[in-house]
């Protein structure tokens, strides 16, 4: 807002008096000066009209009604008291049912509804078939299961029997293992010094040597293709034997 002085009043002062003028509390000489400034100032005149119009628009807005559940939600979130339950009608009492009917309605009926689905029946059949095949292969017979003694004393007896059997087995097998270890030691001491094996060229499994892979050419550079002599055996054969010629191809990583 430009800070101009018109009719003895600055625009800032006009701005401060504007609310009072619209509230109707401005009177007398101040009101005259105010109105004179509004008539003469190009900025403040329209401001007065717009502010008055805006206030009228806002006064046309009525209060909105809060939702009915707002108070109960506030009380529930602050004190934890849900007053809405006081306003809602009491629930209709259901006729009394026995606990068996209650269990049937709560658990059995949903389970039965799921079992009746074809895909569940198929899965159940497959699982039963796999179990029966597995038990047959393992040699388990229903008669064996029937003859199982599941008393605690019998289970404890079975446990100690199995433990004793395992201990006995390892006690029996220990001399055999010791004898085997001793024989291995003797054999190792008596065996002559092994001759060094001739150097073998590591052959590329799929390499045809005539046609190297194009892919390797892209990443590696073929730098040497030397003919070298394989290491010859020392001894009388040195002069008489033909030295084998080995073609060695080395690849160096392209840096």
């Amino acid at each position: 807002m430009p800070d101009q002085t018109r009719n003895g009043m600055q625009c800032n002062e006009f701005d401060q008096l504007l609310t009072d003028a619209l509230d109707g509390v401005l009177s007398g000489a101040a009101l005259d000066r105010f109105q004179a400034h509004a008539r003469g100032c190009k900025a403040c005149g329209p401001l007065l009209a717009e502010a008055e119009a805006g206030r009228n628009w806002l006064q046309g807005l009525t209060e909105v009604e809060p939702p009915a559940s707002l108070v109960s939600n506030i009380l529930a979130s602050t004190t934890g008291v849900d007053t809405q339950r006081l306003w809602t009608p009491a629930p209709v009492r259901q006729p009394r049912t026995s606990w068996l009917e209650h269990v049937q309605a709560s658990f059995l009926e949903p389970i039965w509804a799921m079992v009746r689905q074809p895909r569940f029946a198929m899965s159940f059949g497959m699982a039963f078939f796999a179990l029966s095949v597995g038990l047959t292969v393992a040699g388990v017979k229903p008669a064996d299961i029937r003859s199982l003694d599941l008393r605690p004393a019998a289970i404890r007896h079975t446990y100690y029997n199995t433990q004793a059997r395992v201990v006995r087995y390892f006690d029996n097998v220990r001399p055999v293992l010791e004898l085997q270890a001793a024989l291995h030691g003797i054999k190792r001491n008596l065996a002559p010094v092994a001759e060094p094996e001739p150097a073998k060229q590591k052959e590329h499994k799929n390499d045809t040597t005539q046609q190297p892979e194009q892919k390797e050419e892209r990443n590696y550079s073929r730098t040497e293709n030397q003919l070298i002599l394989a290491s010859a055996h020392e001894g009388p054969c040195l002069n008489s034997c033909d030295l084998p010629v080995v073609s060695v191809t080395t690849y160096r990583r392209f840096v």
Binding site: A53, G54, W57, L58, G60, L61, E63, V64, P67, L70
Partner: protein, 199 residues
């Protein structure tokens, strides 16, 4: 608006754990707070959430209220206003009314805010009480910058006096008056574009 002694007694009872006193406070002020939140936030859902937040904060800080420092309604409105500011910062729905009639330079295809309100051919006098007009004014109010919006809401919709508004907004009374003037003028300019024939 409120009897200071009565409210102080109500607050004391509430601090002492009287649930009925707290319910009375909720019953008395929920409508006012909801309306402030609704006019500021713009939507009923946000207003409900914000009103609940206001009361939760009130419930936790009720012992800090000192009736010698100001009216309870001013204290409540200050809490509401602070939460609205926080909410506004979170939602980033800043709209500057200074640029209301000018197209934002960084968005070439953006329309002036005054043109975003649907044009309606009916004159305002004929529909001033109608729901459509109320919604249009409510939408226009939402286009104001938060400083101007809160000022005109507290003055023109909540009938608070300038001193109380100055306390709530923590600005001088002169600034409050200036914001109210600018807020009203911007709102009128906005709606003037909507109802060109009459204004």
């Amino acid at each position: 608006m409120e009897d200071v002694q009565v409210v102080a007694m109500l607050v004391r009872r509430c601090i002492a754990g009287d649930a009925a006193a707290w319910e009375e406070i909720v019953q008395t002020y929920n409508r006012r707070i909801y309306n402030i939140c609704y006019r500021f936030a713009g939507s009923s859902d946000d207003a409900q959430d914000l009103t609940q937040e206001v009361f939760i904060k009130m419930y936790r800080t009720l012992s800090s209220y000192d009736h010698t420092k100001g009216a309870f309604v001013t204290w409540v409105t200050t809490i509401t206003r602070n939460l609205l500011v926080d909410h506004f910062r979170k939602t980033k729905q800043d709209r500057m009314t200074d640029s209301m009639d000018s197209t934002a330079s960084d968005h070439e295809d953006a329309q002036p805010l005054s043109e975003q309100i649907p044009d309606q051919s009916a004159p305002p006098d004929a529909h001033v009480r109608s729901r459509e007009v109320s919604e249009t004014v409510h939408e226009a109010l939402g286009k104001l910058s938060p400083e101007l919006r809160e000022s005109v809401i507290l003055r023109d919709l909540q009938d608070m006096d300038y001193k109380e508004i100055a306390v709530v907004l923590k600005v001088p009374e002169g600034t409050v008056k200036s914001r109210i003037n600018r807020g009203r003028a911007e709102l009128a300019r906005l709606l003037q574009r909507t109802y060109r024939q009459v204004m």
